[in-house]
């Protein structure tokens, strides 16, 4: 894959105003699905570095971030190469807060159908947001529906 030779450029800074032991991580990602796995690896590595191993948190984080990035790339930016996906993570001792923002038209999360409804069970899509809500401790959206903020407890 051509994109494999490229690298996501990460900015990592301390977060003294919020937490003395905290850090902030930021990067932007092209609107290509081929970048998602690398971006998930990157964010997981930063979020889980220097803390006791927590396999369940790693899994929750990987799946939820992969979902949020896929939504941003495919549904938000519609894979438009002129648009980017922005990823911000705040790393605190007790929580990790990850925000994924796209440059699309936004959506209303309240209008996403319930994938457990009988008429939805055989559908091949529409489970992403549902999984995020199940795997993440707190989920918020901005008013436009172009940004999702996910809080993971480290406990």
């Amino acid at each position: 894959m051509a994109t494999a030779a490229l690298q996501l450029v990460v900015r990592r800074s301390v977060l003294p105003e919020v937490s003395p032991a905290g850090a902030r991580v930021h990067f932007t990602m092209p609107s290509e699905i081929g970048w998602i796995e690398q971006a998930v690896n990157l964010i997981a590595r930063h979020c889980l570095a220097g803390v006791p191993a927590n396999a369940r948190l790693r899994f929750r984080l990987q799946v939820a971030v992969a979902e949020a990035l896929a939504n941003a790339v495919v549904r938000g930016n519609r894979e438009d190469p002129a648009k980017a996906v922005s990823v911000d993570a705040e790393l605190h001792p007790d929580v990790v807060v990850i925000t994924v923002t796209d440059e699309g038209d936004g959506f209303d999360p309240a209008r996403v159908p319930d994938p457990l409804a009988p008429d939805q069970m055989a559908e091949t899509c529409g489970r992403g947001l549902f999984l995020i809500r199940k795997l993440v401790d707190d989920v918020r959206f901005n008013e436009r529906g172009t940004s999702i903020c996910m809080t993971f407890s480290r406990r």
């Binding site: 699905i33 369940r56 896929a70 055989a122 899509c125 549902f130």
Partner: protein, 111 residues
Amino acid sequence: MSFQVSRDDGGVTVVRVEGQLIVGNRQELKDLLGAALDAGDRKFLIDFAGAGYIDSSGLGALVGLSRRVREAGGELRLSGLNEDLRSLFELTKLDTLFAIADTPEQALANF
């Protein structure tokens, strides 16, 4: 390489997922099973013992493949889901849609 394909003595096409099954590679799995189906294969096992994580696109691809195989008169089974992966199927109730065995050997024993 995301998927390793082999064929067992009973004529079951076995696909081992190595790494993730996500939006970036689900089409590869769909193409792979689609080609085997077109070639006449009807029994499929997808083993996740070497898998990392699955996203909703990966789950959706499995739902679509299961339907396609069933409509052709075949069967698709799954195996090797660890506790985390199994939880994704349980949360989405897809565990009711698939025959899921603990190991590939168990899945193949009565296929």
